[in-house]
């Protein structure tokens, strides 16, 4: 090895100090939450919530012709704004691509991410993307869509039929696992992208097409006769979609978590947008209704513990209604993108949505 001369050493030293300086600078900008003040306070001070969304998925977040955003993910943003600021109109939506979304949180471009993001270990962990996830707001999963007049109602009835599937994705593997474990023979017709899958299915090449259920519903919302197609109840994979925030900001993460739980808990207790005022009156008049009084912020001071106002639940429900109301508005049977509730029902109705107690 060659000897290192003193000039080389000087350059190296400069390089090292430069790198260290740059790192300090970069990390300084990257995590503003490392100071003691939480983004929650920043949002209140700014009087505006910046919410990262997709903007391209009907039913979840979609830019309507009047320029407003609509969808389940959007209502989650509105609920946060109502809880934190007290006004659901004080939201700035940032449409993000899948690649941009995590960087946007880490650099502080957005406060919260509500963009059909699958909750996974590596995204949640510090060693991974370093986010923190709120409760799952939509349990997506791979599904199957068939024509209504085909009379097919379950996976079993698709035995020996052709199924249109996008190639080269986990979708292909999931469909095979599902049919194989049920020992049903089938014929996969594989296309490279979703548009071809849709074309193949609509042209009648296959009896069914498969993709994530939310994508199936979104694709269907563009069909001419969307009422003629149904999404089967069978779910072939797990894709839990949840809102996320910076993992180093516990205060904001906690607030986010309990706003979603409030939506779920309200549905369980039958508290809706229309009866919330009556429920508040009822709770005020009856001191023995302890759990309801705590939930609505009359007793217990739960909101304060989160850095929110004690009546944040009331504000949220007045804005968006409970989880079931949000779901029905955007994904219910009467909506543009109907998806059967399935796993997204409450735990006591056969689904998996459950809220820990407001104690």
């Amino acid at each position: 090895m060659a000897k290192i001369s003193s000039s080389d050493l000087k350059i190296m030293r400069r390089l090292v100090s430069g790198i260290v300086g740059m790192t300090i600078l970069l990390t300084g900008c990257a995590s503003p939450s490392q100071e003691n003040s939480s983004r929650l306070d920043l949002i209140k001070k700014r009087n505006e919530l910046i919410c990262g969304v997709s903007g391209k998925i009907p039913g979840f977040s979609f830019l309507e012709s009047d320029g407003s955003y609509q969808g389940l993910d959007i209502d989650i943003c509105k609920a946060f704004a109502a809880a934190i600021i007290g006004d659901s109109t004080k939201v700035q939506y940032r449409p993000l691509t899948a690649a941009e979304r995590f960087t946007a949180i880490k650099t502080g471009d957005i406060d919260l991410l509500s963009r059909n993001t699958t909750f996974t270990l590596s995204r949640d962990s510090l060693g991974g993307n370093g986010l923190t996830f709120g409760p799952v707001v939509f349990h997506d999963g791979q599904g199957l869509m068939v024509k209504k007049d085909s009379g097919i109602n379950s996976l079993e009835e698709l035995a020996n039929k052709s199924i249109c599937v996008g190639s080269g994705t986990t979708t292909e593997q999931n469909i095979n696992d599902a049919f194989e474990s049920a020992s049903l023979p089938y014929t996969p017709i594989k296309y490279q992208d979703l548009n071809q899958v849709v074309a193949g299915y609509l042209q009648g090449r296959c009896s069914a097409m498969t993709s994530d259920r939310s994508q199936l519903a979104a694709a269907r919302s563009g069909f001419k006769n969307r009422k003629d197609h149904i999404i089967l109840k069978d779910v072939l994979s797990k894709e839990p979609l949840a809102p996320a925030s910076d993992g180093q900001d516990q205060k904001l993460g906690d607030a986010m978590r309990w706003v979603v739980f409030a939506l779920i808990s309200a549905e369980e207790q039958g508290i809706t947008k229309s009866n919330i005022d009556k429920k508040v009156q009822l709770a005020n008049r009856n001191p023995q209704l302890k759990p309801l009084r705590r939930f609505l912020g009359i007793d217990g001071g739960l909101g304060e513990k989160l850095g929110l106002s004690n009546d944040f639940v009331v504000k949220v429900i007045k804005t968006t209604g409970n989880y079931g109301e949000i779901y029905n508005r955007h994904l219910g049977q009467e909506s543009e993108v109907p998806i059967p509730r399935g796993l997204n029902e409450l735990y006591n109705k056969g689904g998996v949505h459950i809220s820990p107690p407001f104690n």
Binding site: Q173, Q203, R205
Partner: protein, 299 residues
């Protein structure tokens, strides 16, 4: 330039090419090691866990990747050989029609060649598939007793079933290549000196007999090399199968890359299998070529 200079220049070029290739290989190896990949073909013998719509030999998703790739290769071979035959028959007929004396036929075939040659193959494949076959909807388009049945599920020809993906690819590739083959045939026929035509006519031979026994044998040496390169093109174009959902080797490779992440190994396999396939075609044509040339010497 002096001879020594020439040698020096050639040596320099060789050195440059070799070091460039070496650099690329070195770069690849370093990056593969760095990302912990490295060449490894063990995955070939793990279960593929995907199903295939068409398989000439028995296949199930618990078979290994190597078998899946082989099935893909057979699927490719199947579509290449059958569209090659279709293209040759169609191309020859149209080539003759184009050079023949019948003005209407000549005009029609010129139109056919123009349209087919001047639109992209991918577009034609999509046309045959999505508008051609799938356009038949659920009701059968043609149904003649038990002989032939064409629907959006494909073609049923007295017991033999061809899927709509295979049929679309067969027609797409066959018809596209036939236009080129027709031009190769025309070029071959035109290369025969005019005197030969006048000679057989003056001998009192009919047009048909003269064409078959005087003109064609002389045109063949000019036709065969062009034909070979059209066949090779057809084989390579067959990878567009992925656009119409046919499980050829390229489509299967695509899935395997996504499942295993072994892109480099997969592409090496793909390259090798296409090389094998095209060498097969090339050598067959070479044998045919030699046989014909030899038979001419004998005459």
């Amino acid at each position: 330039m002096k001879k020594s200079q020439k040698i020096f220049v050639q040596f320099g070029i060789c050195f440059f090419v070799i070091s460039l290739v070496g650099l690329l290989i070195n770069n690849l190896t370093i990056n593969l090691t760095r990302t912990g990949l490295g060449f490894n073909f063990n995955w070939l013998f793990k279960p593929a866990s995907f199903a295939l719509a068409e398989h000439p030999l028995p296949y199930s998703s618990s078979d290994n990747y190597a078998w899946a790739l082989f099935i893909g290769w057979l699927n490719s071979l199947k579509v290449i050989v059958s569209s090659l035959m279709l293209a040759t028959v169609l191309g020859t007929l149209i080539g003759f029609a184009r050079t023949g004396k019948n003005a209407l036929l000549s005009l029609l075939s010129a139109g056919y060649i123009t349209i087919i040659r001047q639109t992209p193959l991918l577009l034609q494949l999509m046309f045959w598939y999505f508008i051609g076959f799938l356009g038949f909807k659920d009701n059968t388009f043609i149904h003649i007793k038990n002989i032939i049945k064409i629907s959006n599920q494909g073609i049923e020809l007295s017991g033999l079933t061809l899927s709509s993906e295979f049929s679309a690819l067969l027609f797409g590739l066959g018809i596209f290549t036939s236009a080129y083959i027709a031009e190769v045939i025309r070029g071959g026929i035109l290369s025969v000196p005019k005197g030969q035509w006048e000679a057989f006519r003056s001998l009192g031979l009919s047009e048909k007999k003269g064409l078959l026994s005087i003109i064609i044998p002389q045109a063949l040496p000019a036709i065969l090399p062009g034909l070979t390169s059209q066949y090779l093109n057809l084989a390579k174009n067959s990878t567009l199968a992925i656009a119409v959902g046919y499980s050829d080797i390229y489509a299967i490779n695509d899935t395997i890359i996504n499942q295993t992440g072994r892109a480099i190994e997969c592409f090496l396999i793909l390259l090798t299998s296409f090389l094998l396939l095209n060498l097969l075609i090339c050598n067959c044509m070479e044998i045919i070529n030699k046989t014909i040339l030899n038979s001419r010497k004998y005459n």
